[in-house]
Subunit: 457 residues, 2 copies
């Protein structure tokens, strides 16, 4: 609990008059008040809601992670009023948590503008950039003078607080460009508005997939970027705060998928939800693991005559897995960040294989020496035979690591090509292929070299 939150709790519980309470709370950040809300009793909260009024409550609720819980503490009419006052994207975030029945009722009670905005946002898929936009922005026409534009800004700034970029449309309401507020503020009266408008200001289309446009949006590093509808009118804007949220969500998703979670989890999830999220993955992995087991079964006879070799199976499989994961992680990030040409993909593939080979070779030499010594000293084989066994491990390491690098690079490229999310699908397939290759190479080598040729047993 921060100092500000402590202060807030003391103020709210301090039996102040309504006016004094409002006055004292004016100074605090909505986010701190939101944090304080969670520590109050429902009665204290209700008193606070009525003192603050719908507009401030709307601003505070936008900072809550589970705003739906607190929204319920208001009457349905108040709920609709608060939702009407919210930025459309925040309103949608809360409405999506509310049960369908209440949602319909609230939607019916919103004022016309809020209702239109919210319905528009609800019409987008979760992975479309339109679902993140807000309709809180300043919009002017391109045929105004600088003085008229400034007056229009002041008029709209009461309602809309994303003012650092002013968006411009022509008389057909089509996107025309953008003006930095800074330029407008320091402009002399006689300057033409046209000279202030950046005609090539970046934009995105509402139905663009987030994963396709997020790099572009990040690159422009603007306070906000407009989202155009099909008719090239401005549907809303993506603010820098939205971008933080999108980047956080996207990266969190990637992270979760790499770890074999179907979605990011948090502390408040029930055990049941977590089980359901993780189980599908594990079942797939179990059956793929059975396939690997069946292949190991083919080499049962090798192990039966030379049991020592099975000690190193886990080593080779683990290393192949580690290398495959490294290549996979790098490839997924690269695929997401840039549009690669075929040439670049081939280059990446060879690079990963080279890395796999050189790292494999270094590790193989280490394995040859250390495992050879171990087998000789602790397992009673002659030094020559010990080195032959550890050489098999070393050669298998190199082979497995080169193949793992290749598979770890090609699999995500392939899945991306056929339109499947590479972050989800690649992991299990790569593990299985790597395990199979490593096992066949290793036990195959042992069978041919140690048993058939050297006649170690």
């Amino acid at each position: 609990m921060t100092k500000y939150v402590e202060e807030l709790i003391a103020i709210i519980r301090g039996n102040l008059s309504r006016e004094e309470l409002i006055d004292r709370l004016f100074d605090y950040h909505d986010n701190d008040i939101a944090e304080a809300l969670e520590l109050l009793t429902p009665e204290e909260r209700k008193r606070l809601y009525s003192a603050l009024g719908a507009e401030r409550v709307a601003e505070i609720f936008a900072y809550l992670d589970d705003g739906d819980i607190y929204l319920k503490e208001l009457s349905l009419k108040q709920q609709a009023k608060v939702i009407s006052e919210m930025d459309s994207d925040d309103a949608v975030d809360i409405l999506e948590e509310v049960d369908d029945d209440t949602k319909c009722k609230i939607l019916g009670m919103l004022d016309k503008e809020a209702s239109e905005d919210v319905r528009l946002l609800l019409s987008y898929d979760e992975d479309e950039i339109g679902s993140y936009m807000t309709t809180n922005f300043i919009l002017i026409h391109n045929d105004l003078t600088v003085r008229e534009a400034m007056r229009e800004l002041v008029r709209q700034a009461g309602e809309n607080d994303n003012i650092s970029t002013i968006y411009v449309v022509d008389r057909q309401e089509q996107y025309y460009g953008a003006i930095e507020l800074q330029d407008l503020i320091i402009a002399r009266e006689h300057v033409e508005l046209e000279d202030l408008i950046s005609r090539s200001y970046p934009f995105v289309m509402d139905h663009e997939k987030i994963s396709d446009c997020i790099e572009k949006i990040k690159d422009y590093a603007e306070d906000s970027i407009p989202v155009l509808l099909e008719d090239r009118s401005i549907g809303g804007i993506i603010t820098a705060q939205d971008i933080v949220e999108v980047v956080d969500d996207e990266m969190g998703d990637d992270y979760a998928k790499l770890a074999g979670l179907t979605a990011e989890e948090d502390l408040n999830e029930t055990t049941g939800e977590s089980i359901r999220k993780r189980l599908p993955w594990l079942v797939i992995l179990l059956f793929l693991g059975m396939v690997v087991s069946a292949v190991v079964g083919v080499f049962e006879s090798v192990v039966a005559v030379l049991p020592i070799v099975m000690c190193f199976q886990s080593l080779i499989l683990d290393m192949a897995g580690n290398v495959g994961t490294q290549s996979l992680a790098v490839t997924i990030r690269v695929l997401m960040d840039e549009n690669l040409t075929t040439g670049q993909k081939v280059k990446l593939m060879f690079k990963e294989m080279k890395i796999g080979f050189f790292n494999g070779a270094i590790l193989a030499v280490m394995a040859l020496v250390f495992l050879g010594a171990y087998i000789h000293l602790f397992k009673g084989f002659t030094l020559g035979y010990s080195l032959m066994i550890s050489a098999c491990v070393g050669v298998s390491l190199v082979g497995a690591m080169v193949v793992s690098s290749l598979v770890g690079t090609l699999t995500p490229i392939f899945f991306k090509k056929v339109g499947v999310d590479p972050a989800v699908a690649s992991g299990p397939l790569i593990t299985t292929i790597n395990d199979l290759v490593a096992i066949v190479v290793y036990y195959g080598l042992v069978a041919v070299v140690l048993i058939d040729i050297v006649h170690l047993v």
Copy 2:
């Protein structure tokens, strides 16, 4: 290549007069020009630099990933001029890529203000929030009138483009609060400035670790947040664009570490760099793998008398690894996002273990049935014996998965407690412990139940 970049290339190569060129380029976004730069010849670029002037070049260079390469194309004097014009954090980004000799020379040639700002930023560690701040912001005193504040804003807006929040200090230059530009713009003349100042506007201290304050900064969702120095004066601000960058870096780092990469890699890295980045990890994993191999060696005699059981070793180890990674990933994210009490940590631990147990039990039943059938049908054991073997696999799965969940949760909590980055250190340790536990449980079970008690062989 986007449409804008194509247009830009055509314009720059179009043999326009200098004035016409400047005029045409005015309209384009710095980021697009930065992208176009990479496609021009050095001669074309040099012509462009001199046409655009140091201020615009500085803005464009801020968008380049490898600005140092292009900076070199300017004379040392021009370099210092461009760096002087840049936001201090962007200037530092470029200077960090330049060789030390040139860096010193440039630092000596910067104008006084830029030089002070850059030296301040260079004094911070990479993981301190101060290293991300910019000195581009509007600063006023708290005893101005609204009209004076507005005039001061217009005066400073020529130099500083982060104007959406205006920072306020008292006459001792100590942080006093912040004003939303929107509030200043719509304020009537007779309003006291004091009434517009938010005294509880959030701030961070310059030496705070990024990982400690990034969640707070994200939560406030502001356009910018001030960074205070030890004497409580404002050293700079963190803009929303900086926040995007920090979040992107932090999450990218987590992602890379989870994949066993010491740092995030990109496409342009040389093979040698990638090898060096990945090798340390792999060497550690190799030696830990050798420890596991030695433990497997203890059970050589078990496998020698009943080779079939080694087929399922990879299955149990892989599953334990997968479950451990899931728990690890969840725990690391939770540890990063929130300050957990001991009670919450214990709760998380039990929750993870419960998830491990239930998922393990479900998978164990599947393993019992499917592996039992496989052993009976393909390996020639009686149905009873087959089910006994597959039951050993099933029981080991449950045991291994519960232990993996526990280890996957406790290890990062432990490392965080002792001040080691849990994302880096946890992976290899967890894999090793999980492998060891799984192997001891599985082969131990087989040795005791199948061989000693049932006398399967």
